[in-house]
Amino acid sequence: MKKYLYTLFHKFGSPKWFYQLTDKLLPWFTVMTAALLIGGAIWGLAFAPVDYKQGNSYRIIYIHVPAAFIALAGYYVMAIAGAVSLIWKMKLADVAVKCAAPIGAAMTLLALITGATWGKPTWGTWWIWDARNTSMLVLLFLYLGVSALYEAFENEEVAAKACAVLTLVGTVNIPIIYKSVDWWYSLHQPASLKITGESTMHSSMLYPLLVMILGFYLLYGTVLMLRMRTEALVRYRQQSWVKTLVKNAK
């Protein structure tokens, strides 16, 4: 068992193996992502009932909440990859940190923009400097900071180390974001979805949300794979498998 895990760990570190594996996974991920996102969006926009308090503006929840989920989960993915890169010097983990940062930034930006467009008709304002909004903005800057730090170093190894450290330090912000609506006064509503205990949403509104959350997770996986594949090609362009791939490409 130990030997098997050791081999698996080494395989995960191999860019060539990763490229071949994702070749097989990507078509499945793409089809499932598209089906869930298109289906979930139509369900949420046209078929879910209206909210008695917020009216139709609540339909933004079907992109706002999944985007915010991924913005936070994506940071954990990046931090774990950063830790693996620091401790075991795994090549692919470093590639993952670099590729996860822009996706996380895009998701955070999306959560902020959709939050603002939901806030205007609901709160009467696009933005408020409360704990939830501000900590999400800090998250965006952390993601952008990791990307910028990568570009600041010529040496890739030094860049990887610095970014992994920044990523790990930034994790302190994640529980603050989660708990911000409970710890401080905020216009932002508390969580409707709960891991422990019953959700406060009716199933007719909840199911499309769950479909969209799953779709966003799959989209995250798809985009991370796409980015990591491209980054692996660029980084390991001197290796024979990349040269063969380039030669055979149309």
Partner: protein, 66 residues
């Protein structure tokens, strides 16, 4: 469908511009997330192919490591 007509779906009792605006931004951001790495890969392969062709033309030339 929850709405009576297509117009009602678009207008959403006045919330339409916010809802459809948010979904449009989402569409743009998500699509660009997918398209960007695909284009980068295409660019890289084209660049490497050019490099390969250049090396084939002058076998003794140094690789510029592009």
């Amino acid at each position: 469908m929850y709405f009576d007509s297509f117009q009602a779906l678009m207008w959403m009792d006045g919330h339409g511009p916010y809802v459809w605006g948010a979904y449009s931004v989402a569409l743009i951001i998500l699509l660009s997330l997918v398209i960007q790495p695909l284009r980068a890969k295409k660019r890289f392969i084209k660049q490497q192919k050019n490099e390969l062709r250049r090396l084939e033309r002058s076998p003794k030339g140094n690789s510029s490591n592009i």
